[in-house]
Amino acid sequence: MGAQLRVYKRRIRSVTATKKITKAMEMIAASRIVKAQRQVAASTPYASELTRAVTAVATGSNTKHALTTEVENPVRAAVLLVTSDRGLAGGYSSNAIKAADRLTERLRSEGKDVVTYIIGRKGVAYYGFRERPVVESWTGFTDSPTYADAKKVAGPLIEAVQLDTAEGGVDELHIVFTEFVSMMTQSPVEKRLLPLTLDKSEEDEEAAKGKILPLFDFEPSAEDVLDALLPRYVESRIYNALLQSAASEHAARRRAMKSATDNAGELIKSLSRLANAARQAEITQEISEIVGGSSALADANAGSD
């Protein structure tokens, strides 16, 4: 076999192996999207019940709480960035990082100090390489986050918000994560978690209908209920963000792996064409060598006779 042909054959073998791997990854990601979507759906009742309860307290009492009151001159804002632990997911992590950069830029232009919290090894690596300060980071659960993970993340954040700004606390908490729009579309979004801004639209509609919001009886007291309720609310929002990010990550990986598989198929096709051409060229050359050799032999024999 000619050297050229051998090189082509080797490349085809290697691309075929790669294609098998990317195909497997594509299928694994596809099955995980469904699981992640189910988790998002399963966590929705909890989130909506909590939102209802928080709305009830916020509208049914005049209680002030550290997590709901707007600071007049916010000087420090925390940004929680959700990225993935593993790569090979197309632009998933870098899109989220870019969105966080834009948000950071905007907050800085508003005169706020920005402190960053990161979830996911990719974000940690990005910030580590650029030597940007990160207050706290969590890794190891972006594939399938549990509620305990969300609690672990929310704890220090809520603590930082409750702390006085002068003592290193923050006034605002933003979260950047990737929203799962559909199997094909996942878009990075930024949301302000704290201080809480409740959706006023529903309430306005109710007021328009002339409905009076029920006067709630708080057990033991409105302050205590808020104290217990708001951290749970933040946890559930972070949990929801983690779950959506996980679904987005799997969807992004599936798409990236699908195009990698397609590209590998294309590459194999063009390489086999080249290999076939090389083989044919080799055969042609051998034939012409044989023909040439035999006619030279024939000429020589004819001359001696």
Partner: protein, 124 residues
């Protein structure tokens, strides 16, 4: 037919039970509370403990670890990070967990296991 209220029992990662009930008994931080249809709107913090939901078909008991009870317009929601129905609880496992927690002096785990067992046995 007696008046009924709609109950939603949800945990952080799933909806545990929902249906109509005539009475719900839960333990808040300031004592046990019973909610019947037509109760005043209520929002309370729950203690870890068994919650009893009386329905037309019988009682449903669930172990609820922390969380909230909220009631308005004859709709009652029990929201907890962790909630399990008594039928779902593995008694042997809970007993083992209780013993382990006792030997390790892990107060939180001991309380959780205790709540589970109480929900199963129906002892409040």
């Amino acid at each position: 037919m007696a008046a009924e209220l709609h109950v939603e029992l949800v945990a952080a990662d799933r909806s545990v039970w929902s249906g109509e009930a005539t009475l719900v008994i839960a333990r808040t931080t300031s004592g046990d509370i019973g909610v019947m249809p037509g109760h005043q709107p209520l929002l309370g913090v729950l203690e870890s403990g068994p919650v009893t939901i009386k329905t037309a078909e019988g009682n449903v008991v669930a172990a609820v670890h922390g969380g909230f009870i909220s009631f308005a317009d004859d709709k009652l929601s029990l929201v907890a990070e962790v909630a399990e129905l008594a039928d779902e609880i593995d008694v042997q496992r809970a007993e083992r967990a209780l013993e382990r927690a006792k030997s390790e002096a892990d107060a939180a785990a001991e309380r959780r296991a205790d709540v589970r067992l109480r929900a199963v046995t129906g002892v409040h």
